[in-house]
């Protein structure tokens, strides 16, 4: 999927991605020559199809988590399906605000560990000391974490 500014005959560049939370996705692309911006809007089925490929429109800066697509998409997974062992990266921060912890607690156990790690990696990469609901909201959009 690529976008072409027909007037300038230039390939448009990815600019921004937004996940309103209703299963749809908005991705904006800008012409590097004239600056015109167009938005790609996908319906829930189209959004799901892209997510099912395990790719992110706009790319991602974080390494994939093991079984990321399975853990993010399976609705009937066991809460205790996964157990993390070994050195915990949590010792190196960031900290979680009470509100962020409460929000995380509402994530199904099947995927909670992975979601926590993704947000922590996101915060570490950006030197964010404390994860708050606002940080989580920003990360969701930036990372394309629909449903997380």
């Amino acid at each position: 999927m690529k976008f072409l500014c027909v007037e300038c005959d230039r390939q448009m560049a990815f600019e921004d991605r937004q996940l309103p939370g209703d299963g749809t996705l908005a991705a904006a692309f800008r012409c590097p020559q004239c600056g015109r911006v167009v938005a790609l809007l996908t319906n829930p089925m189209e959004t799901q199809l892209v997510a099912s490929l395990g790719v992110k429109i706009g790319g991602t800066t974080l390494p994939p988590q093991p079984l990321q697509t399975v853990r993010g998409m399976v609705a009937t997974g066991r809460d205790d399906a996964f157990q993390e062992i070994g050195e915990s990266r949590e010792a190196r921060g960031p900290i979680w605000s009470v509100e962020a912890e409460e929000r995380l607690a509402r994530v199904p156990g099947f995927v909670r560990g992975m979601v926590k790690r993704i947000y922590a990696d996101y915060a570490r990469q950006r030197s964010i000391a404390e994860i708050t609901p606002a940080v989580m909201d920003t990360a969701r959009g930036e990372l394309g974490l629909e449903g997380m």
Binding site: Q11, F14, S52, G59, P66, T69, G77, I85
Partner: protein
Amino acid sequence: MPLNIRTYHDLTEPDRSGLPGQIGAQRRRVAERLATVARVVAVMSGKGGVGKSFVTAGVARALARAGRAVGVLDADLNGPTAPQLLHLHLASCTLHDGVIEPAVSAEGIRCFSMALLLEDGRPLAFHGPEAESFVWRGTLEAAALREFLADVAWGRLDVLLVDLPPGMQRFAELAELLAEPPPVVAVTIPPPESEEAVRRALRAARDRGAPCLGVIENMTGGPFSGDAGDALAREFGIPVLARVPFHPTDDVWDAIVPKVEGSR
């Protein structure tokens, strides 16, 4: 006046999304994970209910008895049975250093299956819009197969057996993910109805360039009449690897080992 629009392949400027690059990275993860696996063998049949998973477990045990390092990837995501057939305890999967450890049977067989992840008795269901779910469900199942290959710490294996569901869709997905189509073992039962379904599957595998190691005729010596194993072997120029009765002894499975493991 018609617009002069360049085509997709004409546009070669760097793109932050890099979707082909993301797909390429997924394939590399599979290749890197399987670099320590000497041989991937697909156990398939065009027919349901012929005992593919039973045969897979029997062959895996025989390989383990022969001292081979063997793994079983249960690619039947909607009807996973490998853990039960290998007598695995359904404990939590261990995440360690960014990979998932496979479950390991008492015989040392490494196994990964959707059954290890699902709630007891619940079907495999996905988050997502129910309307037109047929559009994305197959893609999601292919992604699950890819992640089972790439994200499970299979380690050094002589043989990784992939227990495929009925039909050929999952085989096509598997062949797409590997550097080359995997050798296949076809499983049939004696009746002609099974022969016809397995014939289609074998042709599909052959059309994709997959070598066929042979056919295993399962459930012999019982109520089923027919010679599907022999007929398929003759037609495709492949050996009958074994005729497996309803209550096979170890020697039935052990005879298959040299034919499945390939050159060592």
